[in-house]
Subunit: 538 residues, 2 copies
């Protein structure tokens, strides 16, 4: 199977895929020559999604492709000139836009986390060093390109944790927010540990295993056994092609739906090695299950291992337990070993919460098909990423707010992940770029960026710098090095394994410490004080 | 401004953008020759989104483009053959797929609602008549293409109703579910009554007015007045170019942030006719507002009408009222009429609920900027559309369920909207296709499809057939007739105006009646009884 690793070029991802105000404010800068002043921007989020305590960074590939090809076409420029909002701008500005290019800007550099890294609030995922104008023009698009991949990867990883040890299959194409929303969800759900997707196009694009059986419409298209009277199947035991229906009818239970049985028989003959039947079109226990059992016994007689059933409605806990016990009964009473090996897929509106509920109540499910709640991230459909100026002309910048989490941490900085003896991450530690990096064995005092009473002393066994340069002065090498999907998938798993369960758990997860150096703490608070207005009361 | 009306061809929308099970179940049909049997499928939803009582149908353009170009490429076929799920399928099946085409299938027909029609649960939005195999292969993609456009249009229409009489602007690009999610949201939010978008690419693609001012990062890029010392602006009154900063400083209030004032001055000189300032970077009332007022007074002196302010944090009700009263005070005390005409845009996490809360509490806002909650449809991020077989080989089909709303209404049918005297829709009435259509003046008995005690007698003043043929036997004309965006926008408005407020209101909306003919009722219940399994108790 071919496995290319990147999405096809999206015709929507152009320099115009931005907010108008990026273009207007860059104009205001351009008019006074500020657009060439060196600036540093950080892209980060303020709060982990899904009331959780971790986030998985994804979307870097898309960002790099966008950055690499960033430019305004002549047609784009004509459009901009024609809009009422910009029609009075000076021609020189449009000329500036027309010739703007990331690969032609010597001072342009992008640092980023590795795709699939576990990340926490306030830690930059992407750091852009660029002339102010160029850096500003990239903001909205980069936010868009990181937001959904990271969100859906995090959602998927949480679901995989909740479903353990049972695999999860992504079924969301029909309910996703557009074709691109669907394929992006398939890609990053797989990166974060899903086992397969039902989306064939995503399977082809990204080399993801595809999976699926049949739907209700298939069963509805049969109304009697007439259609399957003549079906023949190779009997693996006798190596002769034999009529299949008579064998099934020998095991049939009275009162089940004829059309449904016909549908199962046709499906079994089409896919004798992978026959998985949707059993709830008419009535799961009275019709679907007995019809499947009759079909499966016949497959067994012909030397095939039937695959199992899918439940798509009703009480999934009770129904799956009942189906499982019926399968065990058949296995025990008839010594049909194939019945000890059946899959029970459940797939009706499953989300993280129902996965935990099912685990608590008990169930007989062996795989979960998850659609809407995964791909639309129903529990929280956007990750609130922001893109903030942290340095300008070598001078650190701060964004104040009455809302503490909205205050930015100023300055160009490095972030280190400090590990303990067992290779467990202890703390993420942010220091100013000119500080010397922390070393294993050092006794490092870490401060909470805002709460003066919160401090932590850490003597790490190892230290990892979280960011690396992914695009520098137009180096095309950056793109070639972009990770492939199966590597990212392994990396996410490694990342998840490293972190303690307390951080990954569903209920009341523990906050992972993100701290700053003493120097950065002092610097941040000085700058804050200098910039905050003093209220005067009379 | 150019205004093309359709999205660019999305490379993801191909015949492979489907669930694997569409391909496996079609194979099971193909093996026994069922794939050519005539079938009728309906695409509909079961429940209005957002706890509301109406839905706006959108997405038809995308569906028609997909249908028109539907085909499996050689590369697609190679991929399918290579997958473990399909590698044992017979070659003839792949040949069938390779040559399958909507335009070459004489019996293929699509009927649909007009783009922008108000629609209710169970009413088909799209009706596909096709050979079973082809109809089945279109399912997932059509669902994907209708789901999000209809959802986001409905969400937008509800927000526009909640914000009335103030306009809404779409700001969601950065938080949307991918580039396509963003542009689709921009398009259908505009169709449903939004006034503008901040998304420049969507503006260009669809001819939507673009709107936007500047962001916090812009303000942060200024730290002193040095940058703007030399700024000159044409004084419209004297027709001389004059220094602008001294004029502003003459009106400056002590203690405001220098960098912020510099940012406003630079912005005013860049956009003197449309100067709208974001005032909450440091402190709205102590710094942003007085800095804006000083800038606006200077613009007034130079003969320009300043545009206004944007509030992006804090208590939007109290802050907007305060800003409004300060503007009125300036207007009253200084006779500066421009202050009577200022815009106050609010834009922090606004959703339908906060719009109603603001209206109730009172505010001074004159326009709303809405992002995340609009474009991701946070309140309900998917419309649960389904695609069901309702007829097969001329025989009506039903999908049963223990869950009443999940039962399908069988048979090929027509749907009529019956109107009363004032042109108000009274009831949507579904009848079997061979029934004679209801006529104005007829006394029509309508039945609830499931609840036997619910009946309604209606004597309509006028009758409209809701569906029309949009694709017939490969008629390429269908696409050419596809509606353009501004027409759809007017049509949505007309539709909304027609329906009574009771159906559109936020709290406890009234359910609009969707009823069936006596014949269809009887037919449905007979079929239901025939297909439902009889429980046997011992």
């Amino acid at each position: 199977m071919s496995a290319p690793n990147t999405t096809p070029t999206n015709p929507l991802v152009t320099a115009l895929l931005t907010d108008l105000y990026q273009i207007t404010m860059t104009y205001a800068h351009w008019r006074i020559g500020k657009h060439e002043e060196p600036a540093v921007f950080e892209l980060f989020f303020r709060k982990n999604p899904f009331q959780g305590a971790f986030t998985i960074f994804c979307g870097l590939d898309e960002c790099l492709k966008y950055i690499q090809s960033f430019s305004f076409s002549d047609e784009d420029i004509e459009y901009l000139k024609s809009t009422p909002a910009l029609c009075n701008c000076e021609d020189g500005y449009f000329e500036y836009l027309r010739t703007l290019s990331t690969t032609q800007t010597p001072t342009f550099q992008v640092r980023a986390l590795k795709e699939g890294t576990i990340v926490f609030p306030k830690i930059p995922m992407v750091i852009i060093e660029a002339p102010l104008g160029l850096g500003q023009l990239l903001e909205t698009t980069l936010l868009n390109l990181v937001n959904f991949p990271s969100l859906v990867a995090t959602n998927a990883a949480r679901m995989v944790l909740a479903a353990k040890p049972f695999p999860c299959i992504e079924f969301g194409l029909r309910r996703a927010q557009g074709p691109d929303g669907a394929c992006t969800a398939s890609k990053y759900a797989y990166a974060a540990g899903f086992s397969a997707t039902s989306n064939v196009h995503a399977g082809k694009l990204f080399g993801i295993p595809i999976s699926g059986t049949h739907a209700h419409a298939y069963v509805q298209a049969f109304s009697s056994l007439d259609d399957v009277q003549d079906l023949q199947l190779l009997n693996k035991k006798t190596q002769a092609t034999e009529a299949f229906l008579p064998k099934v009818l020998g095991y049939r239970k009275d009162g089940t739906n004829d059309g449904e049985l016909a549908a199962f028989v046709a499906y079994a003959c089409a896919f004798p090695d992978t026959c998985l039947c949707l059993v709830d079109t008419y009535d799961t226990l009275q019709s679907g299950l007995p019809n499947f059992i009759a079909t499966a016994k016949a497959l067994d007689d012909f030397g095939y291992q039937p695959k199992g059933i899918r439940l798509d409605s009703g009480d999934l806990s009770a129904l799956s337990l009942k189906c499982k016990s019926v399968f065990e009964e058949v296995e025990g009473s008839t010594s049909r070993q194939v019945f000890g090996n059946l899959t029970i897929v459940a797939s009706n509106d499953i989300n993280e919460e129902t996965l935990y509920q099912l685990a608590e109540r008990g169930h007989g499910i062996t795989a979960f098909g998850i659609g809407t709640n995964l791909v639309t991230c129903q529990a929280q459909p956007a990750l609130g990423c922001v893109y903030k100026l942290v340095e300008w002309k070598g001078e650190p910048r701060i964004k104040l707010s009455n809302d503490l989490p909205k205050i930015t941490i100023p300055s160009r900085k490095n972030v280190y992940r400090l590990f303990g003896k067992e290779g467990t991450p202890l703390v993420d530690y942010m220091a100013m770029q000119d500080e010397s990096p922390p070393k294993p064995g050092d006794r490092i005092t870490c401060r909470h960026p805002f709460k003066s009473q919160k401090r932590l002393i850490c003597t790490p066994t190892s230290v990892v710098t979280l960011h690396s340069v992914v695009f520098d002065n137009g180096a095309k090498a950056a793109l070639a090095e972009s990770s492939n999907l199966s590597e990212t998938r392994s990396y996410v798993q490694t990342e998840l394994d490293k972190f303690p369960d307390a951080i990954k758990r569903y209920e009341d997860p523990e906050e992972y410490p993100m701290m700053v150096s003493i120097t950065l703490y002092k610097f941040l608070h000085d700058l804050w004080e200098r910039n905050a207005p003093i209220k005067e009361v009379a």
